[in-house]
């Protein structure tokens, strides 16, 4: 999965750092172990020298490990801070979101995601956003804990009832990005997927406008039906 947002670019770099750190740890421990096990075989009754380690070597190894841990911490801090930076809407993005991010509310509920757009239209399952535009998603939940997870666009975040959480991204390419929910939320958890469709700003404007009109028409029809004494 290729990253398609400035934040996930940084996370991808950190992934490689984490991989290298992990390989160093694994190779050092398992390599040392295998070497010692192969090299120092003995027969029953052999009595090796009863060596034990003084403070000097322990201190040096401890210092080396501390430096290694500190370097890992610093690298992780640098890229975490870069990943947290709120990007600015680019030239191809939505003009209305040029200075402040496009605010969208995402609400997790068993077992679908609802997205509320600024013009009071909404959609279920699929979120439509303009390309090259900073989008800020306000995560909330109406029932249990859900996790919003569209790995190509942003790191995952929990939607906890009574709390608000935030995801910010700027999609760099038009297309359809698949996502999941990543916290067990009951029976249909495995099917509680989502998708983000990144379109041009014009197509986005068109989408929210037509979505709003359709919702309005449907609501009017329900009001009419109730007015006529029918069950909608």
């Amino acid at each position: 999965m290729a990253p398609h947002s400035p934040g996930t670019d940084q996370i991808e770099t950190l992934l490689w750092i984490g991989f290298v750190v992990g390989v160093i740890v694994f190779v050092a421990v398992t390599g040392g172990l295998l070497y010692a096990l192969r090299r120092y075989r003995g027969e029953r009754g052999d009595e090796p020298r009863q060596l034990s380690g003084g403070r000097g070597i322990q201190f040096r190894v401890g210092l080396l490990l501390t430096v290694f841990a500190a370097a890992t911490f610093i690298a992780a801090t640098v890229f975490t801070e870069k990943a947290r930076e709120v990007p600015v809407t680019g030239p191809d993005g939505l003009e209305a979101a040029a200075s402040t991010p496009l605010e969208i509310e995402a609400t997790g509920q068993q077992w679908i995601w609802r997205y509320d757009y600024p013009n009071e239209s909404f959609s279920y399952y699929k979120l439509v956003v303009p390309v090259d535009t900073t989008v800020s998603i306000d995560l909330a939940s109406t029932d249990v804990v859900h996790t919003w997870d569209v790995p190509e666009l942003a790191g995952k975040r929990d939607a906890v009832p009574g709390k608000h959480n935030r995801v910010v991204f700027r999609a760099d390419e038009e297309g359809l990005y698949q996502g999941d929910s990543a916290t067990l939320s009951g029976q249909a958890y495995g099917s509680m997927r989502t998708a983000v469709e990144v379109v041009s700003p014009e197509a986005y404007e068109e989408f929210v406008k037509s979505q709003r009109e359709e919702i309005q028409a449907a609501q009017d029809r329900v009001v009419d039906l109730i007015g006529n004494g029918e069950t909608p």
Partner: protein
């Protein structure tokens, strides 16, 4: 040449049948052996549940299990593996071995240990009695609000809470007995600084359990109050906080993770020293590092909450604590390897499993470093990569480490050695199985973002091959584990006679008979160093020189 026993109680015929004696025993050896046996039994049950889940995930969009049944298997697997396998195994091993290692004739509060052991069994009974109505569907860590009455109205979650609560309560009671024993019943001369590393691991684990156990008991009680008495501890909107459960439960689960690793590393240290015929390279550093793991590891609980709505400052705190663990873990691995260097290594089954444990734990901890990096955990958390990382560390610690301890102390437990060739077959099958089962899950998690705990995956997400291999790998792993369980059952009566000290160990459990008499020691030696058994062997060889040392299967050697 035989010692005059100070207590002659063993010659009297038992008044009651053997099973009544065992069921009413408050002897730490009977109870410890009972906990260990039960733990491996529950390991087998947990593996069946794991296999059923992996069968469901064999092919995309499989309908072998319904979502509800899958969630039940998931919840039971987690509860069984943690509360009825890993923890009872660790505490059971400590309870059996540590009093022997410190030269105690029993434990300080035996009735407490007896109650504790039976509470664990009662907990398991409650969990599996859930089958009579409905088992929990709330997952390995049942996060509220999903675990609240409004979302899971059947009694499964109540059964889970009662079962795990009883298990924790029981293990805490055993831990109290262990700490009291360690504080009061050490043999003459057995100063804290001379305590074997496994006994230190037992002390540290007991203290850790005394901290994290009551925290989880409090959380479970709150959950039960929420569900049954209209409580609002974790209910949103009425002054409650779903995140409170996450904090309390993750303190416990993170501490438990560390406890399992402390047990495994303590056992590995004993095994490495015994089979290299050398002292641990630096005892003090290893013991200090084990204590540091208990403290730092538990303080890193928010490493599991990096995607939750908590402040970034807390995330940095969790990252600092997690990455600081590199130092104590690194020092322990260094000292274990340095102990092997220059040794006269005999590659027997205990050392084989110990080496496997170190290798698997190192993969798990290496992967865990990535999960500790804040921004990276936003990508990796709750993917199958976290499943794999946790399983590498805990299969490494509890299964490989547990099997290393089992092979090492089996002669003491039963008087017989476990079959060496079956051990080798089991070991290599398990290594292949573990790698096949969890490496593909790591790739599926990091590359394709496959999520954790889900009852299915879709054909279009590109994880078909990963999951197919993982399912086959799990089957291989289970087969390998079953071979060792069979080996233990067969060797219990059919293994070769071990004698009191088959490995040439340094600590006092090898001084007494295998299996030990109820009072553990006829004669207590005067402990003058951290390697009392070595001192005894030297004293004997001086006394009997130049005649060769003769084994004394029916009586104990005298210092």
């Amino acid at each position: 040449m035989s010692a005059r026993p100070e207590l002659v109680i063993d010659g009297y015929p038992k008044r009651r049948p053997r099973w009544v004696e065992l069921a009413t025993s408050s002897d730490h050896k009977d109870l410890g052996r009972f906990l260990i046996t039960a733990a491996f039994g529950f390991l087998f049950i947990a593996l069946i549940e794991l296999l059923l889940m992996r069968l469901q995930l064999l092919i995309p969009e499989n309908t072998f299990l319904t979502p509800v049944v899958f969630n039940r298997m998931l919840s039971l697997y987690g509860a069984t593996a943690i509360f009825f396998f890993a923890l009872p195994l660790a505490i059971g091993l400590f309870y059996y071995v540590v009093p022997l290692q410190i030269g105690a004739r029993g434990t300080a509060l035996p009735r407490l240990g007896q109650v504790g052991t039976w509470l664990v069994i009662a907990g398991a009974t409650v969990l599996y009695a859930g089958y009579l109505f409905t088992p929990t569907e709330a997952g390995v860590n049942p996060l509220p609000p999903l675990s609240e009455l409004a979302f899971l109205a059947n009694n499964g979650v109540d059964a889970w809470a009662t079962a795990t609560g009883l298990s924790i309560l029981g293990l805490v009671l055993v831990a109290i007995d262990l700490t009291a024993t360690l504080a009061n019943l050490r043999a003459p001369g057995m100063a804290w600084r001379r305590l074997p590393i496994f006994a230190w691991a037992g002390a540290i684990s007991s203290w850790l359990l005394l901290v994290i156990g009551p925290i989880m008991l409090a959380a479970i009680t709150m959950l039960l109050i929420d569900r049954n008495f209209d409580g609002v501890f974790f209910a949103d909107g009425s002054g409650g906080a779903p995140l409170l459960w996450q904090h309390l439960s993750w303190i416990f689960f993170t501490g438990t993770y560390m406890l399992v690793l402390i047990m495994a590393l303590g056992a590995i240290a004993e095994i490495v020293a015994a089979f290299a015929r050398k002292p641990i390279f630096n005892r003090g550093v290893v013991i200090g590092s084990l204590a540091a793991i208990a403290v730092l590891g538990t303080l890193a609980w928010m490493q599991n909450m990096m995607t939750a709505p908590i402040g970034i400052g807390w995330m940095y705190f969790a990252m600092l604590m997690s990455l600081a663990l590199i130092v104590p873990f690194g020092l322990i691995f260094f000292n274990l390897i340095a102990t092997l260097v220059g040794g006269a290594i005999r590659m027997r089954a205990p050392l084989l499993f110990a080496a496997g444990a170190i290798a698997m734990i190192s993969i798990g901890l290496a992967a865990e470093i990535s999960h500790s990096m804040i921004a990276l955990s936003w990508k990796l958390k709750n993917t199958t990569d976290s499943t794999a990382a946790t399983h590498f560390a805990l299969v490494g610690g509890a299964v490989f480490g547990g099997f290393a301890a089992l092979h090492h102390w089996f002669p003491k437990l039963t008087g017989r050695t476990m079959g060496e060739s079956l051990a080798r077959i089991s070991f290599w099958t398990m290594i292949v199985g573990t790698l096949l089962a969890f490496i593909p899950l790591m790739l599926a998690g990091t590359e394709e973002g496959q999520v954790i705990d889900a009852y299915k995956y879709f054909d279009s997400t590109g994880v078909n091959a990963h999951n197919l291999i993982a399912s086959i790998g799990t089957l291989v792993l289970v087969a390998g584990i079953v071979v060792t369980l069979v080996n233990a059952i067969v060797s219990r009566d059919g293994g070769t006679e071990a004698g009191h000290d088959p490995w040439g160990g340094d600590s006092l459990e090898w001084f007494t008979l295998s299996p030990p008499e109820p009072h553990n020691f006829d004669v207590l030696p005067d402990v003058r160093s951290a390697r009392p058994m070595r001192d005894i062997r030297e004293a004997i060889s001086h006394r009997t020189a130049p005649a060769p040392e003769k084994p004394a299967p029916e009586s104990q050697p005298v210092a």
